[in-house]
Symmetry: C2
Subunit: 618 residues, 2 copies
């Protein structure tokens, strides 16, 4: 690509090298899009965001960082729009009308960044140019568009067989069962517990015979344990991150003390990528990379500081400020900023302190896996997605939106995150449906299924200790069955539109404002989305609601689905409507001149007939 | 009142004394109202609530308890409704369609409760009967309906003068400035720091001359400090809560180690109520009782257990389960359930362990203050509200909804809490406008002001360390000024309707469904409220929104206010509408045949002319 290179101020911005800022005025009504996976709305105006990948399960409005750093924004004042892609691996702060409602200020710690100014007539053109710069989106295998069940807590092969039985007995479609950290021996990456999973290969093929893909979790940290092959190889090959003095950096994660593979080093990347053969040789074809911000539970260095602090406070009676100091010490233990300054990467000869390039870690872990897969079996397709991410990693795999909660507000957050993720190329994405932390309710799960059925990645996942949420455990299992069947009937549409978006540098899930440029109302609509080229959705995300308002930018055909073959339809004029949607009903709107193809119901993606489709047209 | 008394199962419920439960089936579509100040919606269906007053600033959907226990629910299936008031001071769990979406199960720890079954033709009749049972609502002085500014962090009299100057210079109306814990000497209740507030009486009267009421915070815990009069008197009088062995119970709160007045004892209550004279004699006439769940930062007993646990974990290298154990120990320090079992009350001769009657503590603190005021100056009116509360305490004072966050979702929560609080008689109530914890934004503050201007208690309050949010600090101070002026113009209406509701056993803030019984749509509307008899409001609570949907159950006149004298009006037909509301615009709907009286703008409540009102009629 021929990109004119200039130095000095990027178009529209004024730069202060003293303050390490670049800033611009925001016109009244200008919308700021972008930043991928963050808190708050599709329009990012009115908050301070920080690019610093963080393992923080509290995805609240007051947070500045989640797991991802996708350094792209687009300012759209209605008349014209302009995109800004900032290629920088360290911390960036985005003050988007937070300090001053009319100013956007971007602050760096190290002002060593490429700023790509992306012009275009309209948003899609800018998105397409961004994709040309950052590369095409990853396309997963077709089966990965099936429904998946996951839970932290499936400890044995039998647990997984039980889950499959639960779904199969009720004939609820399913394609994937995920294995969280429990399957490993002492949480050691690239191992299985020999007692609980005595024959991985046999188990994977037993599942495959039933049309089920088993998708294990992979964490980066390698347990420090002499005799453990991955550890031994890593030490021998010099593949782990080091401290300033050259000794190996250690921190605690699930397995206890671990070393971290230096994914920024090409040799280490190759080594780790090849290690996935432990799984792929056993027939595994689906993976999720987790804990790769990287999450640090603690380091011994910082823990000693904490202990010393506690000991000091324990001398004499604690006063109230001592108590707060004590609490503060405790809160400082995991993901401590200082700990991210304790280790270094070897960028093929260049030594870089981790915090300077923090956001690249997960990018290169996903890259390691993807390149490993390609190297070892170029023709095979794998499902691969990650918790942490960085702009560009969409070439290698997808993302899920991390450890959300079973909250209605997180269903709404999920709705708002999806188009932003799509802007930066992360098309294969989705949330932990039903919520990971906290206890779900049947109605929340049903409404979330009704949204997630439109996200490419559709996984039900929950945390140990929370209420069990496999769909067969609820009361209204028939409704769930019909909803999952609807997803399967829609897979030909979803898959085709997804691949089209990936091939064209486009988006699969889009805000209305990108499509209906001249309709000012669309600029504020954040709870209706376009899915592919033919349809708009309007999910219900409020407890005890049996309907909602929708705005139609043009006349459309409304489909009120209760299942793939149970729906009513109605033509609705452009404008505002209040529409009923009972707990088991999904609202889909077919755009004029378009049609929605639907397959016959199947219980596995492989059994879906992509050729014999029924079309619902408007 | 003549209440028929029966034993056995309360109407519609089946009781299990083994399980200590009472349960009933919920019809499809039945709405469950009540519980006062909790998380989630006006319709409580779909969650598990727990009556156990808790100092927990994380008011998230996943929580079961907030600061209050208001043990009243009303089940309304559209055809008929029935209320249930459970008179019980201990922990109660309300599983309202959580475990089974169609069942309501109430679980006791001690099944020693009076259940009042309140029948009536419609909701207001039930509310009125409940009020007859529990007593009339507290009515504050007129000035308490003015706007108030508060912040944890005003350390000196000069700080408060500075705040007043900020408001007065911009001519933004204000009546009250609150003093948080900072004003005390070492956080000792009924003291002022002699250096920072050298002349309380002089300062209060200096403020009063400018029309400003100073409202200090009162915490229950009395610092253990020989020589400190309140401590000495408490020990001497035997007014403090004791441990099982008769020694005084101690826990740490703001002042460090304190004893807790035994508000359940009439002597102690009288003593503490009289102590307020330290303030009232200096001319103070506004109070807020805080930390009265009671909050316990820690006890030495439990802290030793925590230390012992830490020491055990420190022997040898910590593994990951040790780490979690460590975190769990830390999280157990404040408000530890075991600590609530370590102390006892003397109910005028009957010794009761605290946890059995936990929810009565704040009730009796507010009662102590209220009875003290009456005893010492029967004719004087005081403003009084509390953080923790229990059904019945509405006779003595109001409540604020505790330590919320500067989140849009908490503005919405505030909207949903208000009618529920009104059901149980807590008419004088409101939230920390702009949010207490976390950092606010100018737009959130403006939208929150636009809602709080309709709540009887209208206070801007924020926490130490968060972004400063006095209205004069923002950019669009003119908009704020006009909005606060609008509040002042509405005070005659608000005050009159409030007093009417208090006198009639009615509600000041009401859900639409209570008024429009036959309109099924109203049963799901939780973001529009009736304020008094004449108007409906429809607050905007989404960032970057410049409009919203509204449903009109009947033809109404819409007023779009930008200030008391700057508004447009439009007649709108019954039905659904999308209505514009720019950031500085407030939507008010006048009901047919009703009118909204408005006063001329004033900068203090005392200067409002209640007689010369302009009426906007529909």
């Amino acid at each position: 690509m021929d990109i004119p290179v200039t130095s000095g101020d990027p178009a529209g911005f004024s730069v202060s090298t003293d303050q390490k800022t670049m800033s611009t005025e925001l016109k009244p009504g200008a919308v700021v899009y972008g930043l991928g996976e963050t808190v708050r709305g599709i329009n990012k105006r009115g908050w301070l965001y920080r690019s610093f990948n963080s393992d923080d399960p509290h995805h609240e409005e007051g947070k500045h960082s989640l797991y991802a750093s996708q350094n792209f924004i687009m300012i759209d004042d209605g008349d014209s729009c302009c995109g800004y892609f900032i290629d920088h691996p360290g911390t960036i702060e985005w003050d988007i009308g937070y300090t001053d409602p009319d100013m956007l200020t971007i602050t760096f710690i190290d002002m060593d960044a490429y700023v790509y100014v992306i012009t275009g007539d309209e948003p899609y053109a800018i998105i397409k140019s961004l994709r040309e710069l950052t590369g095409p989106s990853y396309i997963p295998p077709k089966w990965a568009f099936g429904y998946g069940q996951s839970r932290w807590g499936y400890k044995t092969a039998d647990d997984i067989r039980e889950v499959l039985k639960g779904y199969d007995e009720l004939e609820i479609p399913i394609d994937t069962i995920y294995m969280d950290i429990d399957y490993m021996k002492d949480f050691k990456v690239f191992t299985t517990d020999p007692e609980r999973f005595p024959d991985l290969k046999g188990f994977v093929s037993e599942m495959k015979e039933q049309g089920i893909h088993v998708a294990p979790n992979t964490d980066p940290g390698v347990k420090i344990q002499p005799g453990y092959d991955v550890y031994e190889e890593g030490v021998e090959g010099g593949y782990f991150c080091k401290k300033e003095d050259g000794s190996l950096f250690a921190a605690a994660v699930w397995p206890g003390m671990v070393h971290f593979p230096d994914f920024l080093n090409s040799e280490a990347r190759k080594w780790f990528g090849d290690k996935y053969r432990y799984m792929t040789d056993a027939g595994v074809d689906g993976f999720w990379n987790d804990m790769n911000e990287p999450a640090l539970f603690y380091t011994n260095e910082h823990l000693s500081e904490v202990y010393a602090g506690i000991d000091e406070l324990r001398q004499g009676e604690m006063d109230i400020w001592g108590f707060f100091k004590f609490k503060e010490l405790m809160d400082s233990i995991d993901n401590n900023p200082e700990d991210y300054r304790r280790f270094y990467h070897d960028l093929d000869g260049v030594k870089v302190r981790h915090d300077k390039v923090h956001n690249l870690y997960s990018f290169n872990m996903t890259r390691a896996a993807s390149e490993g897969f390609k190297r070892n079996d170029p023709d095979k397709e794998y499902m691969l997605f990650s918790r942490a991410s960085f702009i560009g990693a969409h070439r290698y795999g997808g993302v899920w939106t991390g450890d959300n909660m079973s909250w209605w507000s997180h269903l709404l957050l999920n709705i708002k995150q999806m188009p932003s993720l799509n802007m930066t190329g992360f098309l294969f994405s989705g949330a932990d449906t039903g919520g990971f932390g906290a206890d779900t309710t049947e109605d929340l799960m049903m409404r979330w299924v009704e949204f997630s059925m439109f996200t490419p990645l559709f996984r039900n996942h929950s945390a140990l200790g929370t209420r069990e949420q496999e769909l067969y455990r609820f009361k209204r299992t028939d409704d769930f069955k019909h909803l999952i069947e609807l997803r399967y009937a829609l897979i030909p549409y979803i898959y085709t539109e997804f691949v089209k978006a990936a091939d064209d540098g486009g988006m699969f899930i889009k805000p209305l404002a990108f499509e209906y440029r001249s309709d000012a109302r669309c600029r504020e609509i954040e709870d209706q989305l376009l899915i592919g080229d033919s349809i708009m959705i309007a999910p219900v995300y409020e407890q005890n609601s049996n309907g909602r308002y929708i705005y139609l930018p043009e006349r459309m055909k409304m489909l009120r689905f209760r299942g793939a073959e149970d729906y009513d339809e109605e033509m609705l004029d452009a404008g505002d409507h209040y529409v009923k949607a009972a707990l088991n009903e999904v609202l889909v709107f077919v755009r004029p001149g378009k049609s929605l193809p639907m397959a016959r119901v199947a219980r596995r993606v492989r059994d879906i007939n992509f050729d014999n489709l029924k079309n619902i047209s408007c």
